[in-house]
Symmetry: C2
Subunit: 192 residues, 2 copies
DNA sequence: ACCTGAACACCGTTCAAGT
DNA sequence: ACCTGAACACCGTTCAAGT
């Protein structure tokens, strides 16, 4: 029998604190001293676990993508229909707004693209690609006849719609704006 | 006969340099020392013209909104039809990507919402509101029967579509992605 | 293995001092 | 009216030093 683990590793606590901060204020506003204070260590200790801010942000984005894709894969495995899967997808981005008017971790960092170290930029791109690929796959099942190019463009459009709606609703600090926008997209047939 | 003005005021040069920097890297990455170096003064001089970073960013956003709305109003005055006006609108956000993979000034600052001084946040919200109102007005002319709520939701959806597509295409550093996404939206009838 | 204090060059901001 | 150098408390990062 191994030792009980009653407390998260320092690395895990750092990642949890940092993730919450980035989703609220972005990569540039992430402060090693703030993270350290929130965890109860000094900022130099954070550098022991994550040598640079880029290393920390890249780790955050990689895990964020993994966890998100795991959830999306369980959605497919559950055998729910096309519309139900899309509704769950739209609900994921709504949840970030519910959680203190936050954004998707990679959505907010995408806006900071030019400021990101290359490794972080790559992880953000990987998140976007994974999301568009999942949506494209879902669409392919729905419309077997469509060309790959058109299916991918539509997958990207759904991702852009959700990301854009999140951005606009967040600026208004009003979840009803997110719902109204997604309703308008639904009316145009974006989810049919 | 008054004195010739062969050079822009220092304030104007500061705003031009700062605007370009914010559209490329955001509010947080805007540096008074970088702006000063680009204009040829010291950072303390920038504070003479714009006491705080918030004052500078608020002035940038206010003028950006004014200039943008002036252009949109000339579009309407030209008497072009609904589709042509929307095509011009979509082209505005494309142009930022053409200009060094930049973003809409207020779009990128919207992502930084939580970091913005209140005055800047208000200007960013005013830009969004003005854009949605313009789109809503355009839609009202096109579909006189629609309820104000639905027209506004659809106006917000078009704005979110454009902002989201810009964000996604910028992350890929590929204008073709913007065009493909807008094409997919057009296919769903978002612009009909 | 993990943490820390001290130092470095950056940042926005302030202010007394210059012209 | 406009600009500046110097100082302040911040920042990410490094590193020698501690346990």
């Amino acid at each position: 029998m191994t030792t009980m683990r009653t407390q998260a590793d320092t690395s895990e606590q750092i990642m949890a604190a940092a993730r919450s901060m980035v989703q609220a204020r972005g990569y540039n506003a992430l402060s090693f001293r703030d993270v350290a204070a929130s965890v109860g260590v000094k900022s130099a200790s954070v550098h022991y676990h994550f040598p640079t801010k880029g290393d920390l942000a890249a780790a955050l984005a990689r895990r964020y993508t993994e966890e998100g894709m795991d959830y999306l894969d369980t959605l497919l495995a559950r055998g729910e229909d096309y519309r139900a899967c899309l509704a769950r997808y739209v609900a994921i981005f709504r949840r970030a707004l519910e959680d203190g008017n936050r954004m998707c971790l990679c959505g907010i960092m995408a806006a900071e693209n030019e400021d990101l170290p290359a490794a972080v930029r790559a992880e953000v791109a990987a998140f976007t690609n994974a999301n568009v690929a999942w949506l494209t796959g879902l669409l392919a099942g729905r419309r077997p006849g469509t060309s790959p190019e058109l299916a991918r463009a539509r997958g990207a459009a759904i991702y852009a719609a959700v990301a854009g709606a999140q951005l606009v609703a967040r600026g208004r600090n009003d979840i009803a704006v997110y719902d109204a926008i997604m309703g308008a997209f639904a009316d145009t047939g974006l989810f049919d």
